[in-house]
């Protein structure tokens, strides 16, 4: 399934996002990370006396995914590196899968070890983050482009959650969810997530 787009990079990004929504690893990971972020917010907001419900709260789920990817898909010190964002997720999830494979998961004691540093393309990192959103049906999802003299110079995500659009540029540490850099002009590509699939 290929998506027509304005440049090779956005076509590749859209393809990564569309494929992610049927990737078992990414579905499991997104569910785990989003729900646990929601639970953590519920816990600390309740302790503060301003309770926030995480029940299918897609804004919180988006925030959790954005936060995780922002932290793990950026350069940092590690003994190993990878250009594949999925490899980092696979290593992080490995202990969960091993625990699920034993009779009593509560007895499992290993850890994922040090995750590799991400040294790959920022666009792949963005697309993987948006793909994680797709697995939880946090949609529509758009690839937003910053244009300089009519030429796309930066791509990031724009995601619709609970009635509001959020910019997500995980490659700029100075930005938070909802923020984006300013450009002369902008363009957007909506990622077609509702495409029919052949029944397995």
């Amino acid at each position: 399934m290929r998506v027509e787009a304005r440049s090779l990079d956005t076509a590749r990004m859209a393809d990564i996002i569309v494929q992610a929504r049927k990737d078992p690893l990414l579905i499991d990971f997104a569910r785990l990370v989003a729900v646990h972020y929601g639970k953590m917010v519920e816990h600390f907001s309740g302790a503060e006396g301003k309770p926030v419900s995480a029940h299918n709260n897609k804004t919180l789920f988006l925030e959790g995914l954005d936060l995780w990817c922002r932290s793990r898909f950026n350069p940092r010190n590690a003994s190993r590196s990878t250009e594949d964002p999925r490899e980092i997720i696979a290593q992080a999830m490995n202990p969960v899968y091993e625990a699920l494979s034993v009779e009593d998961p509560s007895t499992y004691r290993k850890s994922a070890g040090e995750l590799p540093a991400y040294v790959g393309s920022p666009d792949d990192a963005t697309a993987t983050m948006l793909g994680l959103c797709a697995t939880l049906d946090i949609s529509p999802i758009r690839i937003r482009l910053g244009l300089q003299d009519g030429v796309p110079v930066r791509a990031w995500g724009k995601v619709y959650a609970d009635g509001k659009w959020y910019d997500s540029d995980i490659n700029d540490p100075a930005l938070a969810l909802g923020e984006a850099r300013e450009f002369q002009d902008y363009d957007e590509l909506e990622v077609p997530l509702e495409m029919e699939e052949e029944a397995a």
Partner: protein, 219 residues
């Protein structure tokens, strides 16, 4: 049938034949769980813990004892609500996990989850004292949509040492579609609905639809 720890994902069949296929699969998962020693042991433990709480409550407050079937269904519903978190499936993809996998998810050690969500521990320290954040233990939870919630509850009913029969999946929809599923169980003389997917619902609550259908799970 997926093995323990595996999960099946298919493209969502948009036709009634497709819906019937999914219903067949949900029934098979419940039937499989009903024969599974792991699920039986888990359900027995859920009932034991709940009965202990009820016994203590009865001793302290003099509350009247309930019928064993209602205690069993109440125990299973309470356990599911405490551990099941509702999430949507991806667009056009149907994800159905086995009940064994979901129960096992709740037992994955918090140290394993903690490792994965480490970035949140750093982020939360901007809104809460560091020592409180570091003391936070991730709860044992599992995740799924209405199909998976229905399977989780129904499987434990099928494993209950106190007989809960018949077991039915209930479907609700509008305009000739069925787009939601929950469970209905006969507990003693009472039919009891359980829908884990709506916040604030308790045992017996379910959403209103234009039309309903029911499918019994043969055990």
């Amino acid at each position: 049938m997926p093995k323990s720890g595996e999960v099946r994902r298919t493209a969502l069949p948009p036709t009634f034949d497709g819906i019937r296929f999914e219903i067949g699969r949900m029934i098979r998962y419940v039937q499989g769980a009903a024969q599974d020693p792991f699920m039986k042991a888990h359900t027995k433990e859920v009932l034991r813990e709940f009965t202990d709480v009820l016994d203590k409550d009865a001793q302290m407050n003099g509350t009247k004892a309930l019928a064993p079937e209602l205690i069993a269904v109440g125990a299973i519903d309470a356990w599911c609500r405490a551990h099941f978190c509702y999430v949507n499936d991806p667009p056009n993809i149907e994800v159905i996990q086995t009940p064994q996998r979901m129960v096992k998810q709740t037992k994955v050690p918090s140290t394993v989850i903690r490792d994965i969500i480490q970035p949140f521990y750093q982020a939360m320290q901007t809104v809460a004292p560091a020592e409180e954040v570091m003391a936070y233990e991730p709860p044992g939870v599992c995740y799924g949509d209405c199909d998976e919630g229905g399977i989780l509850f129904m499987s434990q009913c099928a494993c209950s040492p106190v007989s809960l029969k018949p077991l039915r999946f209930r479907f609700g929809g509008h305009e000739e579609t069925l787009h939601h599923v929950w469970d209905r169980v006969k507990a003693g003389n009472d039919w009891v609905d359980s829908d884990l997917t709506e916040e604030g619902y308790g045992l017996g609550d379910f959403s209103k639809f234009e039309h309903y259908e029911e499918v019994e799970v043969p055990l």
